[in-house]
């Protein structure tokens, strides 16, 4: 049901490299999982409202007031690479 090409397409959308072996296994596993999931296509759901959120909350608004955020050096402490007070990444054009 899900072939290699579809797995590779979805993996590309998800920015995820898969090894050849992973592509092979995932094609089989995703087919069996989606086969189970597709049972919901048997249900008559015409006119049923979708649920996105289970508990009723009004729009949660707050005053738009400036508050201190964490210091820059604290945030950068966990970064794999930094330069000039920012996150350093490889070039998108390389």
């Amino acid at each position: 049901m899900i072939d290699r090409e579809q797995v590779l397409h979805v993996a590309r959308l998800a920015r995820l490299r898969l090894s050849d072996e992973e592509v092979e296994t995932m094609a089989g596993e995703l087919s069996s999982i989606l086969g189970h999931i597709e049972r919901i296509s048997e249900l008559d759901l015409d006119g049923v409202q979708p649920t996105t959120h289970v508990v009723e909350v009004e729009n949660a608004l707050r005053e738009d007031e400036p508050r201190p955020s964490l210091p820059r050096d604290v945030i950068l402490e966990q970064a794999p690479a930094t330069q000039d007070g920012g996150f350093l990444v490889p070039s998108p054009q390389a």
Partner: protein, 467 residues
């Protein structure tokens, strides 16, 4: 000399200052947690943070996915290995302020995706009742730690059963609260419309004591809300007038005979206490798992997009930006996380969105309606928590779908956002069985009252797991 480990958390809180000091209590548990042979802990504190609150210094084990400032918070994933966040989750802060200092961080399935704790990047947790078996998941480390007496109590999270199922498999109490009653701020997200923090404890009294200090609206989580009921300790001794509904869809097919026998025996105890027990219907419950395995992976695929090697966590070496992303995610995520990212991305992709995500959200509506209809006739819906007792390590790892079926009885309540508690009902073949009670939104205190009465009548003894 008091045997500190034999005390429940509530008893320990009462004894601090009278029979022993908070330091003595913390040290007793710290030593046990540090000598953990179950792989339940990923990090153990050296000292207790100063605390003076009503919980009197009774230490707390916390699932790895709660952010704790300066302390590893990895969500069981290699992609966050040794990540030390610059802030602490609201619920951990609240409990520390209430007097429950951090004892350690507990092992879990990677990003809370799993039902056996075998998906942790840091190795599986062993079940203290039988070390060849799984503790359940995803909060397997928290459940095993409490069951084995390595912690007085613990925090877990439940997205589709991740508190209740490991509580059942380890013979302890686990509560998944009403969605929104506990702040999600600082919880490393899996599926945001379902994730909810809750207690894992030795008994229902401890569960109520921990839960009352967890709740409250948090300005940093706009989906959180205040619990409308006044907290209270459970005290019911009888179940007179309580109507229990047993959904036929969740109490027969696919459930182990030993589990069913323990479930039926617990129903008999409930009747002796004055409850009425009748069959009820949740017609869409058999489709809950399908809907869940669209919605949760879809939300996860969006939530996990942030792990890109830029700001924190693992980064793979690469010459260009795109392959840095794809290689980092290839190296950092485990098989189950990759599987769910792919399912979620597929379900949200152009051309499939309506057939999968849209329909799953409609099923969610039907499931919530089923529960509302059931609660018109019944106070609580009761089911076995898990279809089986703890299974052998490795038994389900090669069949993802078989693993997902562990959540069959717990996922419907998650989709409906309602509270559900698992308490131990007895043993089957020497292993604990869980009994689940679910109630309408915000019924936690009534639910725990009923669970307390039943717990007393069942008289489950979990001390063997602490030996």
């Amino acid at each position: 000399m008091t045997d500190l480990i034999a005390l429940t958390a509530a008893q320990a809180a009462d004894g601090v200052g009278a029979d022993f000091s908070a330091d003595e209590l913390f040290d007793a548990y710290r030593r046990r947690a540090a000598a953990d042979e179950l792989n339940a802990f990923l990090w153990v504190a050296e000292d207790a943070a100063a605390s003076d609150g009503p919980l009197n210094g009774v230490p707390l084990a916390v699932k790895d996915l709660f952010c704790t400032e300066g302390v590893p918070s990895q969500s069981g994933s290699k992609i966050l290995e040794d990540y030390r966040p610059p802030y602490t989750a609201t619920v951990v802060d609240k409990l520390a302020a209430a007097g429950a200092p951090l004892l350690g961080k507990t092992n879990q399935d990677e990003f809370a995706m799993g039902s056996s704790n075998e998906n942790s990047a840091f190795g599986p947790v062993l079940n203290p009742w039988d070390r060849t078996r799984v503790p359940g998941g995803s909060s397997g480390g928290s459940a095993a730690a409490v069951a084995a007496g390595l912690a007085p109590w613990a925090l877990g999270t439940d997205t589709g059963g991740s508190i209740r199922q490991p509580a059942a498999l380890c013979g302890i109490v686990g509560l998944k609260p009403t969605y929104g009653t506990v702040s999600r701020y600082g919880m490393i997200a899996f599926a945001s419309s379902l994730d909810q923090a809750g207690p894992l404890t030795r008994d229902v009294t401890d569960c109520a004591l921990l839960y009352r200090h967890m709740t409250g609206a948090d300005p940093r989580d706009s989906t959180s809300l205040a619990h409308p009921e006044e907290p209270r300790a459970p005290s019911a001794e009888r179940l007179d007038g309580i109507r229990l509904g047993v959904p036929e869809e969740l109490s027969g097919e696919g459930i182990e005979e030993g589990v069913l026998a323990s479930f039926r025996a617990a129903l008999d105890r409930a009747v002796e206490l004055g409850a009425t027990v009748e069959t009820c219907r949740l017609p869409h419950a058999p489709h809950a798992l399908s809907a869940y395995y669209v919605l949760a992976p879809a939300e996860a695929s969006a939530n996990l997009a942030r792990y890109d090697g830029v700001r924190y966590g693992l980064r793979a070496t690469s010459d260009d930006l795109l392959s840095m992303y794809t290689e980092t995610r290839h190296d950092g995520f485990g098989a189950e996380v990759k599987r769910r990212i792919l399912i979620g991305t597929y379900a949200l992709s152009s051309g499939y969105y309506d057939a999968y995500y849209g329909r799953a959200q409609q099923v969610r509506t039907k499931i919530a309606e089923d529960f509302r209809a059931a609660f018109a006739d019944f106070d609580f819906v009761v089911t076995p928590t898990s279809p089986s007792v703890a299974f052998a390590l490795g038994a389900n790892t090669h069949d993802p779908l078989a693993m997902y079926l562990n959540d069959y009885c717990t996922v419907p309540m998650s989709l409906a956002g309602i509270p559900a508690i698992s308490i131990p009902s007895g043993l089957s073949e020497g292993l604990p069985v869980g009994f689940q009670l679910a109630g309408p939104a915000f019924s936690e205190y009534r639910l725990m009252d009923a669970a307390y009465a039943l717990e007393r009548a069942l008289g489950f003894d979990g001390s063997a797991a602490r030996a």
